[in-house]
Symmetry: C2
Subunit: 329 residues, 2 copies
Amino acid sequence: MDFQELQEDIKQNIKYINEYIINNIRIENETLFQACIHLFNAGGKRIRPYIMRTVYSLFKKDNSLITPIASAIEILHTFTLIHDDIMDQDEFRRGFPTVHTKWDENIAILAGDVLHSLVFSIIGQSDFRKEIQTRIMIDFSKTLIKICEGQTMDLQFEKQENVTINEYLKMISLKTGELLALSARTGGIAAEVDEDLINHLSNFGLNYGLAFQIIDDILGIIGEQSKLGKPIGSDLRQGKKTFVIFYALENSSEDEQKILKDILRTHNLSEEKLKKGIEIISKSGAIDTARNLANKYLQSALDNLEKLPSSNGKNNLIQLTKKSLNRKF
Amino acid sequence: MDFQELQEDIKQNIKYINEYIINNIRIENETLFQACIHLFNAGGKRIRPYIMRTVYSLFKKDNSLITPIASAIEILHTFTLIHDDIMDQDEFRRGFPTVHTKWDENIAILAGDVLHSLVFSIIGQSDFRKEIQTRIMIDFSKTLIKICEGQTMDLQFEKQENVTINEYLKMISLKTGELLALSARTGGIAAEVDEDLINHLSNFGLNYGLAFQIIDDILGIIGEQSKLGKPIGSDLRQGKKTFVIFYALENSSEDEQKILKDILRTHNLSEEKLKKGIEIISKSGAIDTARNLANKYLQSALDNLEKLPSSNGKNNLIQLTKKSLNRKF
């Protein structure tokens, strides 16, 4: 089992999920319809559905039952992206204009709402028995509420001078980790595996999500354009407060803190100031600490995966987790 | 059965619904929690849950099963109000600052999203058998999508010079009628009455909703402060395009159309211009036509109610429908 096989498997999954999604968005109003499908046409790796379908396939041969639910998790993810882009005033996503940029904020609010509702009608139409369907539905709903809490914390942090590392980790576990935990967990719940295994799946997803986010935060400072398209110091340029920033603020001298705070407030950062910012962050040990933390989460994700029965699917999930340290695909 | 008994019944219903809602919104983040419960604390008649519970009670003695679903429809309604208020930039609702005014647009988007999700976890936790629960869930989801389509049309009309009466009626049937149809229909679906009756319930709700909206449009022009708190010509002052405006635009001379369009674009309307606007609208026959149309819808709502078995609840629904012509409560 090598990386190429994983890539092929992911590609196949994208095809199934996109097909299901495009065939199931039915809206009469043309503008609203276009706004709803816009981000699905902008690419994306469909990692959440991939995890859910792969987990389910470990236990069940026929995965036609899980494909709608896997599509629903991508729809839920996309709805949160559309609303987040409004809140964060991001103009581009995956190289495409965001929904509120291409249309306007009102249409983006409505497109998100439509997709949100669609998630639950898809789950409602699934062919699982009532207990399973109900559990999945409530799990989706509660997770979405957690995501909203995470986004609220993220917005609050923007205005907050001091945020502890623990508060930050809680925020990313709500905003990013919980949905990946749901992706993995739902595969197990739908396949009716035992509760112990469901817990391992959930912990795999959560830790994978945390590792993913922390690595993203590192790349936001030292990343190169070639990886994930992020130029060096992009988060500093945008004044985005992430793990490495909060860690550096907590672990620098008062003078360095002042400089760093000033940099975060500055628009059109000079190359000199940018270099100074990265220097302060590195010196604080933020990058090393973040790397260690990401590794810890990745290891925990892998440990939880170990509990799964041996199979190609399991190997693919292991590959996926390991590769997230070096995200080029 | 008189009006006082209806009022008492509505008051009782408000108590049950508010209690359920407040006990079932569980959010850790304090800001998000306050934003979510804000509009529920701002009063409101809970007409949609009232209709659902009353319909259900016609057929089932114990209405403990329907109360959560009736609360869910109020939560759904409230979520759409929170998002609509952002889009329409309304600063007040029921005399209270709107959510995005009291907090900000981001928190309002998130509060709406949380309530939206809550709707489906409540339905998912209901004790109806799977077929019924699934049907209700899909019905709620599809109705919400229709409401979003209605709101999209409403936003599009603002920028559109010519809107036909039929387009306008379609918009209000999606934006207002469908949710009232759902309220009545769900009471019947949950009580497992026959499909014919479910259709009558749905038609009652739809027609009641249309009548309600058209009367609102009339009051927006000729309403007095004492009724519904609307001063004379309030819709004209706000440049709000409603049935009477579209009708007047369709049925006035070219000169009058020009004056009316100019009035709709004018901020801080003079009393003289306001009077002229109301004159043009009246002369076009818009008010009379709207009254006749509202009466037609009300009559249709009543005809559909006639199909229900005789009971106090039925009489209350008839009273409610008749009283909507003279909305003082």
